[in-house]
Amino acid sequence: MSTRVQAAWAALDDVSDPEIPVITLRDLGILRDVRETDDGLEVIITPTYSGCPAMGQIEDDVRSALQAQGIPARVITQLAPAWTTDWMTEAGKEKLRAYGIAPPHRTAAATSVVRFMARRPVSGAADAVVCPRCGSGNTVESSYFGSTACKALYKCLDCQEPFDYFKPY
């Protein structure tokens, strides 16, 4: 890794997500690569949900973090391979939990569409989403869709608190 590439990674290491500021773009897996080309540095980012309104802000934040360090680079948005929550770092998941958002608890590995049917989580089962506040697995899904496209709404039946769950994608 060249010094320029290293410097770019260092400049971008702390850039946080505009919607969930406790987690960095690197933790989320949005920041994919920094590479040297004949035309200079290229920073590769990938969108999360197709309609995520934070993407424009993320691109601007990446650009200004690089500019602040005087590093000229182009920011390129790349669709493939499609972003998945499986790329989220363990450190990132822990930060989400501490912030009050249950991180994705299973992989987003593809299942056949025909068999992809509504499955209600069984309270207390190994598959349960764990409450980020009290740690109980006795939780229930209130809605598949929450305050942002990437989250679902849950409720803890033990501490009675509602909480956000970052959906596997």
Binding site: S50, V114, S143, F145, S147
Partner: protein
Amino acid sequence: MTSHVDYLLHLADNALVLGQRNAEWCGHGPILEEDIALANVSLDLIGQARMLYQLAAQLKGGAVTEDTLAYFRDVGDFRNYTLLELPHHGSLAANAAADHDYATTIVRNFLYSALMALLWEALQESRDEQLAAIAAKSLKEVRYHLRHSRDWLLRLGDGTEESHARAQAALDHLMPYTQEFWISSQAESAASAAGIGVDLQNLKTDWDRMVDDALLEATLNRSKTDGYVPQGKNGLHSEHLGYLLGEMQSLARAHPNGCW
């Protein structure tokens, strides 16, 4: 090349028109969670439409952008299924401002999501790499749309006498419009021959199975699907699309090149 662009516009127009329709529930949902859910579904659909329009604009070149495609084409240029432009109520209400019926919204979202889950899955193998990338992203999203609409189809169908009757009426109203899925347009035939698109006939067995399984669980009867075959994807639309576009495009046309 033209049929390639037309195929992309068909997919993009589907997503945009249904996204705009579903967004009509924003602030008017039957309960708060559903208001948020429909807004989220719309956000995904409009995001998918943007990626597809950007790709189509790139292929067309010149001064074409995602915005000129979305805001400066007229009814006859749109290639969406007629099913997706219909208002949120049965056929006998006078206009789109009539009372919205959630069963109509749910049944439509279910029929379309079931199709798109299969289509996006197959389009991941498209010879157009950008389209394949869009399909891979959209597939992740449509799975949640399908889960949502299927779950509500069950609740309404296997719910109260009133909700059952309204879900059945919505199904009877909308089912004939799905005939349009299975008759290839010129753009679809050309795209599938070129390995860019998918022949929907190959997906029909799976779609039928998904629909029949859900209807059985929802205690609903599969409606007859005969009569007039809609031609929305060939540019022949119902009267409703003009009103939808009129609302959606008015701001961009009143302030061309406006930025905020």
